[in-house]
């Protein structure tokens, strides 16, 4: 009889414990109701650090540099958000997430913002329950092969193997494009890990590997013999990459959106981390408003009024970020990723 009671007690205990662990998930998310008061913006401010979901495996976007820190354009976007909120770009917890788990991580509130070279698509914006911030990198899908393979166009891939990352738009584009090209018999080798994927490609498991062109260029640079590989002259799709937050929280979404636009607008104004101090006495009302010297644009979205100058001070403008992470290391032209005034697609709505 004693025994019976004891086992009931342990059972009870185990259920109490499982209730605790089960309750962990809602604590992060249940406060979010859509109005500003219960927004993730408040959660992040209260926590004092930003949890940012990144890739971690793509040089130029997010990769560990020689100093042992994450660097890249995706990482700098996270830093910009932390700089705006806390005036300290180091108050970030980076969470590397795989392509497969990234949306679940956002849905479940595991990460505050996903800055992980993620393509903006209608399906992800609606059915998947995401909200996409402004595009920070206009990319297109490419195909890399070994020079020795003799493959010069997609049609040559009949009967060949193609390495592709699982759970990406790349995987779907590949299927679409091959159908269009009439290549019926190709064999996708699907991995959910970039390092494993490019290792398999290098060992000759597949004749070609497909991904965003910027990523292929970056990855090519860290192959053991970069010169033996070449990007085919095709752009298979549109890949606008940008930050992602969960649906139904407009306060947080607005903050992420305008922090991103700040980077673009700063470049348009010509404000850099170097010359920021010279603008403090600027008479241009647009710049004064932008830097929080006049009016209270920041307050309206529950950010500090000087959020723009904080961002520029710590992270720089878009042009600086691009040059630092992509332009200099990989000699990739800005093309579409230039300001609209320079023939590119980057355009910020007015800060007023």
């Amino acid at each position: 009889m004693k025994k019976g009671r004891f086992s009931s007690a342990t059972l009870l205990l185990s259920f109490v414990l499982s209730a605790c662990t089960g309750g962990e998930n809602p604590t992060g998310t249940s406060t979010v109701q859509g109005d500003a008061s219960g927004s993730r913006l408040e959660v992040v401010k209260g926590r004092g650090t930003l949890i940012c979901g990144i890739n971690g495996d793509v040089p130029g976007f997010s990769f560990v540099n020689e100093q042992g820190e994450y660097s890249g354009i995706d990482v700098d976007l996270c830093r910009a958000i932390a700089a705006a909120l806390f005036d300290d770009p180091s108050k970030i917890e980076f969470r590397p997430v795989s392509a497969q788990e990234r949306f679940t991580a956002v849905q479940a509130g595991e990460v505050d913002v996903l800055s992980r070279n993620t393509t903006w698509t209608l399906n992800r914006d609606t059915a998947v329950g995401m909200e996409f911030g402004p595009t920070i990198f206009y990319d297109g899908q490419g195909m890399m092969t070994a020079k020795a393979s003799g493959i010069t166009q997609l049609k040559n891939l009949e009967g060949k193997s193609v390495c592709v990352l699982a759970g990406t738009t790349t995987e779907q584009n590949l299927a679409d494009r091959m159908r269009k090209e009439g290549v019926k018999n190709y064999n996708p080798v699907v991995s959910d890990n970039d390092d494993a994927l490019y290792a398999a490609y290098e060992q000759g498991r597949c004749e070609a590997v497909t991904s965003d062109r910027s990523k292929l260029v970056a990855r090519q640079s860290i192959l053991s013999k970069p010169d033996e590989h070449v990007l085919l002259d095709v752009v298979m799709s549109k890949e606008p990459l940008g930050p992602v937050v969960a649906n139904g929280d407009s306060a947080w979404y607005d903050a992420v959106k305008w922090i991103t636009y700040t980077l673009i607008q700063a470049e348009e104004f010509g404000i850099t981390s170097q010359n920021l101090s010279t603008f403090e006495n600027s008479q241009d009302p647009n710049i004064r408003r932008f830097l929080g010297l006049d009016e209270k644009l920041g307050e309206d979205m529950e950010l500090p009024n000087d959020f723009a100058s904080r961002i520029i001070k710590h992270v720089g403008n878009y042009g600086e970020i691009y040059d630092r992470n992509i332009g200099k290391p990989f000699a990739l032209e800005r093309d579409l990723n230039n300001l609209w005034t320079n023939g590119g697609l980057l355009y910020s709505p007015p800060f007023r």
Partner: protein
């Protein structure tokens, strides 16, 4: 009796037993209601709908290709078809893995008890190395260090002019699937049944009658020769053909590196555990049984087959069942090496559609039903070898 009626209810043991059970049930229900409502609230917050309709919707093609597919599949098929491909991929690894692991496991297990020093040492080193390293590590080893290191397809390793090893996969001869193949298969099944009957009869004759059973042995030999001839010539084997111009191999059976890795990795890993189960089972049979069987004049092969193994089997089956279930579950590690099993495919689908909860349920139900089937088959087998006490 009269004393007991005076005990107040809070000191009555029976009362508390009931109360505790009620509390436990209430807490369980409360936890599930809490988790369920939390799920619903979060679905509403993210404006997502719960439902499985997208799986069969013809207007929502999967739009991703699957490398390894035992059935025809294209990117325009609905998601349910993709899941079916994943299921079949999982099943073929599980079934062939269980069969192979059992064969290797029993061999190694008996090897660990061998009188031969070298055999014993080899078996011990195998079991101890494999059992004590993580399976994921072993899979990466097989994939990156073995199968991807095979020569490229333009320069394959060729055995007997019919087995081709390349880093694009292992190409083996395979029956063509023609009428001749099926007729031969039918013949093989028939001769197998006949051989089993004859074998049993022979054992009976030897054990009960003390006769040599020579005539029956000749019959068995005849069946064996006929079967071997059928296997070699009757099955209509298709050899892989190397096309040097196109750098490709056509025909026969192609085991992709991913499938080969998973199959070999799971087999080698699980066999080490099965070997230990077999060894423990055999050692659990009392020494006296060996001595008694030998005293009756049985040859050592017959001692093992008729006396020791049937008794060992009773001990072995329950732990063996666990190993089979482990193999089935471990097959989900396929996702790490890019083999499209049901878990990998569901992962991709959940990522594309955002239906994470639904796909998680699908995967859980799949593995649960796989394992319940394996468990019930093994339980049935277990009952059939137990001592029938009358």
């Amino acid at each position: 009796m009269t004393n007991e009626e005076k005990i107040p209810f809070w000191r009555d043991d029976r009362f508390w037993k009931v109360v505790i059970q009620v509390i436990v049930v209430a807490i369980v229900v409360a936890v599930f209601i809490f988790l369920g409502s939390n799920l619903v609230r979060n679905f509403q917050r993210l404006r997502l709908n719960f439902g499985f309709g997208f799986l069969v919707d013809r207007d929502r093609p999967a739009s991703f290709q699957i490398g390894d597919s035992p059935i025809p599949y294209s990117a325009t098929d609905p998601y349910s078809r993709a899941i079916l491909v994943g299921l079949l991929n999982s099943l073929r690894v599980m079934v062939s893995g269980i069969v192979l692991a059992t064969i290797v496991g029993i061999t190694v297990g008996i090897g660990r008890l061998s009188d031969n020093w070298l055999v014993r040492q080899i078996a011990t080193v195998y079991v101890e190395t494999i059992r004590n390293t993580p399976l994921l590590l072993q899979l990466f080893f097989w994939y990156f260090a073995v199968f991807l290191r095979l020569p490229k397809i333009d320069n394959p390793v060729i055995f007997l002019n019919s087995i081709f090893l390349t880093n694009r996969g292992i190409y083996l001869p395979f029956p063509a699937g023609s009428l001749q193949t099926w007729l031969s298969l039918g013949f093989l099944v028939l001769s197998g049944v006949l051989a089993a009957i004859l074998w049993r009869r022979q054992t009976q004759v030897i054990v009960r009658g003390g006769a040599s059973g020579r005539t029956l042995q000749m019959g068995l030999l005849g069946i064996a020769i006929a079967a071997i001839l059928t296997i070699i010539f009757g099955l209509d084997w298709q050899q892989p053909q190397l096309d040097r111009a196109a750098n490709s191999l056509e025909g026969g059976l192609n085991l992709s590196p991913e499938l080969a890795t998973l199959l070999v990795g799971l087999t080698i890993y699980t066999a080490a555990f099965i070997a230990e189960v077999v060894r423990a089972g055999i050692q659990s049979v009392d020494r006296g049984q060996w001595e008694a069987a030998r005293a009756l004049g049985l040859k050592s092969g017959l001692v093992m087959r008729l006396v020791i193994f049937p008794q060992a089997l009773r001990v072995m089956i329950p732990p063996l069942t666990s190993e089979f279930l482990n193999l089935a579950k471990n097959s989900s590690l396929a996702v790490a090496i890019g083999y499209s099993d049901v878990y990998a495919v569901s992962n991709t689908i959940s990522n594309q559609t955002g239906k994470a909860v639904e796909m998680l349920l699908v995967v859980m139900i799949t593995y649960l039903s796989f394992n319940l089937i394996i468990a019930s088959l093994m339980n049935w087998f277990n009952r059939s070898v137990q001592l029938k006490e009358r």
